[in-house]
């Protein structure tokens, strides 16, 4: 409540005065050092909107790493805030700075900007210029079609965290679907954990060894086109991308201090399809891409599967005359009753198959894998949820178990517990280094 009233005061103050936001510090885009950025936005009559959070994270690795540094416990603090402000009617500036301090991994301690974008739009069009984030995709395990933004894998190895991408983007919305065009004049390397970071992939990536197929390096002329449309129960998307692969080839290389991985970013042409069909509680999902390039063998990759939601899983129990209402209400702290009498629990079943035509020659470990997941939505006042996932390499390889659960505390906080366990890594050379990297993570975030 205090926060709300403070928000209101700020919202009242900002429109009437010159609004100046100043960020001092290390702000980098790719390898370009921008030095100190001073940003000032004047806009009488327009309020500032924001959403942000400050989070504290504790991670425990029960086993020691095969890497050079031995540590089992890490702590980290991060903050990010997305600010948007209308500079004039229909011209919006969005700025999204973030900062993280990490106890162990120097690559994870940083200050940066995820978004710095000007947007304007009409009834049937939209234009964005600047550093922005775009999401494409429908599947849960891996989003093959999501090629615009680089993966920020130093945040989390799952690949859901993205870096901002410099772009000029135009969208046109018509009865024949949405047409989108992107010019991408700058490339950002994928981020990787440092030599002290965990989960440690066996050999560290040395950023000094990075090379690009394109002689333009990090200032390429990449572009992308997309068409997306909805047909009754189906949402379809088609795209074409010509430019620098976001997914580097990692090549071991001898250095003065031992062996390190060198990232090589080839040029590629990609066409892709994403589709989702929704039939009641059943969603059918597919993502399919074809890649081709001088340094990339022409090949197809796919992720396809279903998600089926059992809404009110236990409500048939409630509807049963043999389970009297009084029994449920008599002792609400009894865990058996709490479960049996919770008619609000939804259970989602996710099954997806991940495939790469190249098989063992894939540049990633998902050449033939199966994801089986259970998603629990408790639909309580704290919006508690849990996701239990099992990813199995079907070519006799590794198993990854993951558990992610979260709940709201004190209205503005969220507590998240994340556990990942890597099993059967010995038979799978692409992930064998992960055998000691299972971890448990606790994260407490304050939202404002």
């Amino acid at each position: 409540m205090h926060l709300k009233s403070r928000n209101n005061i700020l919202k009242l103050l900002t429109p009437r005065s010159l609004l100046c936001a100043t960020w001092l510090g290390k702000i980098w885009l790719g390898k370009v050092w921008l030095g100190t950025v001073w940003l000032c936005a004047a806009g009488p009559g327009y309020a500032l909107d924001w959403r942000g959070n400050i989070s504290t994270e504790f991670t425990y690795f029960p086993k020691s790493s095969v890497g050079t540094d031995n540590w089992n416990f890490n702590s980290s603090v991060a903050a990010d805030v997305e600010l948007s402000h209308d500079l004039a009617d229909n011209i919006r500036l969005t700025v999204h700075p973030f900062v993280r301090w990490d106890q162990q991994d120097e690559e994870r301690s940083r200050v940066g900007v995820k978004e710095l974008v000007l947007s304007t739009s009409g009834d049937s069009w939209e234009f964005n210029a600047g550093l922005a984030t775009v999401f494409w995709g429908v599947t849960e395990s891996r989003n093959l079609v999501d090629i615009i933004n680089q993966t920020d894998s130093v945040e989390d190895i799952a690949g859901d965290d993205k870096l901002g991408q410099l772009m000029l983007n135009f969208k046109w919305f018509s009865d024949y679907g949405d047409f989108e065009a992107y010019l991408l004049p700058q490339f950002h390397d994928r981020t990787f954990s440092g030599t002290n970071g965990r989960p440690f992939p066996g050999i560290a990536v040395d950023p000094d060894l990075t090379t690009y197929e394109s002689s333009d390096g990090i200032t390429p002329n990449d572009f992308a086109l997309r068409w997306a449309h909805s047909f009754d129960s189906w949402d379809l998307g088609l795209h074409y991308f010509d430019g620098t692969s976001r997914d580097p080839l990692l090549i071991p290389q001898a250095t003065a201090t031992g062996v390190a991985l060198a990232a090589r970013y080839p040029q590629l042409q990609q066409v892709g399809l994403d589709a989702q069909g929704l039939y009641g509680d059943l969603a059918i999902k597919a993502e399919l891409i074809h890649q081709n390039g001088n340094e990339i063998e022409s090949h197809i990759e796919a992720v396809t599967g279903i998600e089926y939601t059992l809404v009110g899983l236990l409500s048939p129990l409630q509807d049963n005359e043999k389970l009297p209402t009084q029994w449920c209400n008599s002792d609400t702290r009894n865990p058996i009753k709490m479960l049996a009498c919770n008619d609000r629990l939804d259970l989602g079943i996710v099954v997806e198959y991940l495939w790469d035509e190249r098989g063992e020659l894939s540049t990633h470990p998902f050449q033939s894998d199966l994801l089986a997941g259970l998603r629990f939505a408790f639909n309580d006042a704290s919006s508690s949820d849990a996701l239990l996932g099992l990813l199995q390499d079907l070519d006799g390889g590794a198993t990854t178990l993951s558990l992610e659960t979260s709940t709201r505390l004190f209205e503005s906080y969220r507590l998240k517990v994340l556990g990942r366990q890597f099993l059967n890594t010995a038979d799978d050379p692409s992930v064998s280094a992960l055998k000691n990297e299972s971890f448990l993570q606790l994260e407490l975030s304050y939202f404002f």
Partner: protein
């Protein structure tokens, strides 16, 4: 878009009203339907509306939890309305936006925008009986109320808190509904619902909704400022407080498109 706030117009049902039989020959079912159609008819022509909604969730021990949502609605002639909800609180879902296109003759379409992921997700609208944001309101309680979504039966005239009301029963036609029946107390003068009882799949009384502090807008449309839902089985309750109602604000169809989801402030 809210139950008991208004009932949607339909060409079909409006036509049925015109040819409805004389009072003398009316069965309880016909009379119940006629009352529902009249309520629907009186709410036609609102064009669009915006409002702020504060939800107060209370558990059995009285502990409160607050949500703040901004709502925009667009009247669609000949079909269900479109509505857009922007969540401001709790802070961890700030900026999350939902878009619903309700339909009278096919399943509703629903999308959710997750700002942290920049992701627009199409979601199933089949989940009628599930709770809305952990509250005592189910999705079907706050969704667009089409006349065709129920069958009706007039029960009796009755005084409710000194107002003359029609008491009618209505039965959801959707097999995914969490209810076997609802009983509504509808004020005769203004054709607005004052009280609604919800009966669960076992046929026992599950919840009671009291709508109060009705205000009239544009000299025509009545909207309640307070909705109080009490769950008799769990002892929990949820209050919805509406403020800042605006009508005919000039919202367009493009403000209720999938692409508009990302642009809400």
């Amino acid at each position: 878009m809210f139950s008991l706030i208004k009932h949607r117009n339909l060409a079909l049902t409006a036509a049925m009203l015109l040819i409805s039989p004389t009072i003398l020959a009316e069965t309880p079912e016909e009379r119940g339907l006629a009352i529902a159609i009249e309520g629907d008819k009186r709410d036609q022509g609102y064009v669009d509306s915006t409002a702020n909604m504060k939800m107060v969730l209370r558990n059995r021990a009285g502990k409160e939890s607050i949500r703040n949502v901004r709502i925009k609605s667009l009247e669609v002639t000949g079909d269900g309305d479109k509505s857009l909800s922007v969540f401001d609180e709790p802070a961890d879902v700030k900026g999350t936006t939902s878009l619903t296109w309700s339909h009278s003759n096919k399943p509703d379409e629903q999308w959710l925008y997750l700002p942290a992921l920049k992701r627009v997700k199409r979601i199933s609208s089949k989940n009628k009986s599930g709770p809305f944001m952990g509250s005592e309101f189910a999705f079907e309680d706050i969704g667009s109320q089409e006349v065709d979504k129920y069958t009706y039966k007039y029960l009796r005239d009755e005084d409710f808190e000194s107002a003359k009301t029609f008491v009618i029963e209505r039965y959801p036609t959707d097999k995914n509904s969490g209810y076997t029946k609802q009983i509504a107390w509808i004020e005769q003068d203004r054709h607005i619902a004052l009280k609604l009882e919800f009966y669960d799949r076992k046929g026992s009384l599950l919840k009671t909704l009291i709508s109060s502090n009705y205000k009239q807008y544009l000299d025509k449309f009545w909207r309640p400022s307070i909705l109080e839902m009490t769950n008799h089985q769990s002892g929990k309750s949820t209050t919805l407080e509406f403020s800042d109602y605006q009508f005919q604000t000039g919202l367009k169809d493009s403000d209720f498109s999938k692409n508009a989801l990302k642009k809400q402030k």
